[in-house]
């Protein structure tokens, strides 16, 4: 049962491109993540736990692979004196342990090997912040886009949630698997790094919604209807062979922590909420359509000649005529203990992947910063940018095309 599940998973992952050429494209942005597993026998009781995602390959996992239900984003800062050789050693450690963990095997020094037996589609994705290139003496290899995003008017960024030299993105359909992997990888790195911040997030649990259902955020909105489709929009996500060797098969990841002001959001009645978004909270459909994936008609006017979709509605402001200003979203909700006197501390880990965040993401963020009704109820409190090096090919250490073999 297990091996069949694994085969099914792999077949699905590698089959995304073929699927995207046909039916998926016609769905207007419905991701290749909208997989349907062939109906066979009922799945094994532990099927979710035994799903394994392939670690080795041209690309790191955790980007184009379906987003599992739980995620931890861990930013680490390099300790003083860490240089290129030390980074190479750290990558050797992580490469080995990540490969084991994703395969459901204990880490090399695992003191809780029992926890590794349920990988639950575990993926670990490693990113490099600007500081890596400084420490390694490889500034000439640092992409020009690898820098903090420009500051936006509505940002209230906190150091607590911003920056970082290294990123570990750990995702799985099981929080124990995430926790165990984070603990192991962080403690294996302790000679070289210090934890800067940890942001945990969640989506719907596996088996609770139909495959391909667009996630909902904690404001209730269908979030991510218009998204890149892995396999179809690869050029917008991945660097190819024309990139530096270490970046071929790589991308960038931007992690922004968007606080939601749910107490004031609660004051809006359903209609007002829909006006803010330009979409209906009920089913995500645009106010000019009836289904989630209907294309919003930004020209449509009502009986009074007013735009059906408000001039500052989120969906209008986020739209662009430039097809290059798109990126792959893979967001997670967060919900932490509130500070004294408040009811909640909730929001969205807005996580995007794109070949070039300055070219693709920043223009959209700038437009939203200039005018977006949603800004009244959301505030970016954290922001970090990392380069995601190409995957570890068979026999390779992650990042060895940057740090040296």
């Amino acid at each position: 049962m297990t091996s069949r599940d694994r085969l099914g998973r792999r077949a699905f992952l590698s089959g995304g491109a073929a699927a995207a050429g046909g039916a998926v494209a016609a769905l207007g942005g419905r991701a290749a993540w909208a997989s349907t597993r062939p109906e066979e026998q009922p799945p094994a009781p532990d099927a979710v736990g035994q799903v394994r995602t392939t670690f080795r390959g041209e690309r790191q996992p955790g980007v184009a692979t379906p987003p599992p239900s739980a995620a931890a984003f861990v930013a680490l800062d390099l300790a003083g004196g860490v240089d290129r050789v030390a980074l190479r050693r750290l990558m050797a450690v992580w490469t080995d342990d990540v490969e084991r963990l994703m395969d459901g095997r204990p880490g090399l020094t695992d003191t809780e090997p029992e926890l590794a037996a349920v990988p639950a589609a575990l993926t670990v994705t490693v990113g490099y912040g600007p500081g890596v290139f400084t420490a390694a003496g490889l500034e000439d290899q640092r992409p020009t886009w690898l820098a903090p995003l420009p500051s936006f008017t509505h940002d209230r960024l906190e150091e607590t949630w911003s920056g970082g030299d290294l990123l570990l993105q750990v995702c799985a359909d099981d929080e124990v698997a995430v926790s165990h992997a984070v603990r192991l990888l962080v403690k294996e790195a302790r000679a070289y790094t210090r934890v800067r911040w940890v942001q945990r997030g969640f989506r719907r649990a596996p088996g609770t919604t139909a495959p391909g259902t667009t996630m909902r955020n904690l404001m209730g909105q269908v979030d991510g209807t218009t998204n890149l489709v892995p396999g179809r929009d690869d050029a917008l996500v991945w660097h190819g062979e024309d990139a530096p060797a270490w970046l071929a098969g790589g991308t960038s990841v931007v992690v922004r922590r968007i606080a939601m002001h749910l107490d004031t959001w609660d004051e809006l009645d359903p209609h007002a909420r829909d006006v803010v978004m330009g979409r209906r909270q009920s089913d995500g459909s645009p106010l000019t359509g009836t289904r989630e994936h209907d294309e919003p008609d930004l020209e449509a006017t009502d009986d009074l000649g007013l735009p059906v979709i408000d001039v500052a509605a989120h969906v209008r402001r986020a739209r662009t005529d430039d097809p290059a200003e798109r990126f792959l979203r893979r967001a997670y909700n967060y919900d932490e203990a509130p500070p004294p006197g408040q009811l909640s501390d909730s929001g969205l880990l807005f996580v995007t992947y794109q070949a070039d965040p300055v070219r693709q993401l920043v223009p959209v963020q700038r437009r939203l910063d200039e005018a977006d009704r949603l800004n009244q109820w959301t505030t970016a409190v954290g922001s970090a940018v990392f380069a995601v090096p190409g995957g570890a090919r068979p026999g390779e250490v992650l990042g060895e095309r940057l740090f040296g073999a």
Binding site: R89, V93, T111, A189, A191
Partner: protein
């Protein structure tokens, strides 16, 4: 970065060479002196005292019982200086038991085979008399809290992710080179009980705190 805590002064450590008497003729015997063959010289590590290896050849130099030996998942505890331990699973694919009688490493001036045992009511580690027997078609686990390889005196800091070569010597003199990556590890803090009358071979060798350790990465 951490250091395995040497719990006794250096002068109490045992010296390297396993007594010839330990080269048993009959594998499987727990003790005895069937040493009618010349003692294999457990190649003194000092011949390759260049710290961690740079161009480590991975091919084992096995030409005997070590040929049927494999070590799964070897690793060694990263340490700045002094002692550190190495672990892994010894697997014997042959049809005869293999007795490991010595270990050496260019990373350490002295290396030993150790076991955990009760002494005076407490678990301690000490050199294992007779070495490790890996049963035919079976395995022998080296792990924290159990049998392990002990690098007694690191020549250079051993950083996480760095690799060291460990050379296991079987009783017939055949050897197996193993590449073990170093990892940060908090465990394996056992008390060490060295031989109480072995103090030779260590003088002038307390150089575990050399600078660097940064250049040689396999």
């Amino acid at each position: 970065m951490r250091t395995l805590r040497p719990s006794l002064p250096r002068t109490t450590r045992r010296c390297l060479a396993l007594p010839a008497a330990l080269a048993l003729g009959a594998a499987g015997l727990l003790a005895g002196c069937g040493a009618d063959e010349p003692a294999t010289d457990p190649t003194p590590a000092t011949t390759q005292d260049d710290g961690t290896q740079d161009d480590a050849t991975q091919d084992d130099g096995a030409s005997g019982s070590a040929e049927v030996l494999e070590v799964l998942d070897p690793w060694v505890v990263a340490a700045d200086e002094g002692m550190t331990a190495a672990f892994g699973t010894l697997e014997n694919t042959g049809d005869a038991d293999v007795r490991i009688t010595a270990v050496s490493s260019p990373a350490s001036s002295v290396s030993e085979l150790h076991e955990m045992a009760m002494a005076d009511g407490a678990m301690v580690m000490r050199e294992k008399d007779g070495g490790f027997v890996v049963p035919a078609g079976g395995s022998h686990v080296l792990e924290p809290g159990g049998d392990h390889l002990m690098l007694m005196d690191l020549l250079e800091p051993l950083q996480p992710g760095q690799e060291v070569t460990l050379t296991l010597t079987a009783e017939d003199g055949s050897t197996l080179d193993v590449t073990a990556p170093a990892r940060s590890f908090s465990g394996a803090q056992e008390e060490y009980v060295g031989g109480d009358d072995h103090s030779g071979g260590m003088s002038g060798m307390d150089g575990g705190d050399m600078d660097g350790g940064g250049e040689a990465d396999q």
